[in-house]
Symmetry: C2
Subunit: 224 residues, 2 copies
Amino acid sequence: MSARERRQVASDAGLSKKRVVIEAVRLADREGVDGLSMRRLAGALGAGAMSLYYYVASKEELLDAMIDIVFEEIELPPEETDWQSAMRRRAVSARRVLACHPWAIGLMESRTSPGPANLRHREAVTACLRRAGFSVLMATHANWLLDSYVYGFALQEASLPFDTADELADMTEGVFLPQLPPDEFPYLNESAAALAAAGYDPAEEFIFGLDLVLAALEPLRVPT
Amino acid sequence: MSARERRQVASDAGLSKKRVVIEAVRLADREGVDGLSMRRLAGALGAGAMSLYYYVASKEELLDAMIDIVFEEIELPPEETDWQSAMRRRAVSARRVLACHPWAIGLMESRTSPGPANLRHREAVTACLRRAGFSVLMATHANWLLDSYVYGFALQEASLPFDTADELADMTEGVFLPQLPPDEFPYLNESAAALAAAGYDPAEEFIFGLDLVLAALEPLRVPT
DNA sequence: TCGTACATCGTACGTCGTACGCTGTACTAC
DNA sequence: GTAGTACAGCGTACGACGTACGATGTACGA
């Protein structure tokens, strides 16, 4: 086999850190983070388990890299619009991405050092806020508030046991309400009934709170 | 050994579901959720590993029960004050509790069925909002928004690599700034410098966003 | 006295992360 | 050519994990 052929094969089937991490994300999406083991990941890549350690120092590093891939998927706030539209766009994108990779939220708690994509993202968001007229301190406040809302919403959404409005209606009748004696939980019964009747879309719920927060932040900036 | 002695011993040293779960929480607080294994937990209780399975069907059930213990620790919104004070109190309590048990936040993503303490908590919060004049729909919105903020803040706080303002200053100088070339991350540099200079208290940061959210929710209720 | 339910445990199986060392190949220097 | 070096990958083995299974001893009602 010539060197050229070798290189060809390598770029088709050979491993690389990027390929390893991307396949890990796919595996976690399919099977959850508990289903992601080095052996299974290696299997999905057609390689031996220990081969992965040439590209990744440890499973911890792999998880860090996976989180950063997720951050790469999130849209940066566009520069050409007003700050509220820009923040809304990136927040909506973040929610969508986190909903596609529910394992990511649960992983963040334990990973303490942000990756490059994460840093780029924070820089872009901070830049957008500062250019919109927020002081350094207010931009920090806004950053915490917006990120808290986005992450917290994604966390709650990930722990919902249903994906569609129909499933919600089914589960409300079949699982929730029987667990909730009306005399002990009158208000939850009221809510469950109303939600099951009205249908429910997490994306709309997200927008409601998001716009409320954006509007509340508006008066805190110094108009440019 | 008489029956009375036996019972005595049992209530002193014997196991029970509650004791198992409480010790599990302590172990997770000390060593993190990765350090919590059935064998180590059994060791801490002076028992054999398999003995735990008499009280807990599986490790998953144990984790569910641990989460519910955490919810038990969170103060319910007091009934005798205005709704904003009540919500502020329970939110502050929730942040404090989640900061004491950082593993809890990361666990929530994977646990989909709420325990009894969780349900009681939700009921009390919803009751408070409904009594304050929020419609069923608005109470749902407010619930999502407040919980998202609290959980998201706790999640971010848990992934901070420092605990005190001094540590922040140290890490800013020693770790963050060297990672952030000023030409690529001008705004993050600006923020890091300002924060390191001003000191930083997560509890204050939390209150800022919380009060902003509460104020934004105020006009959405029908005054009582 | 005996049967049954309770509470506890030892052993064993399959899986996990990964330390260690071995392979074979490409490339460089002589 | 050829020896040396770096690269890329793998096989094996070790200790720890969750837990299925069955054995043990004890308390207590019949």
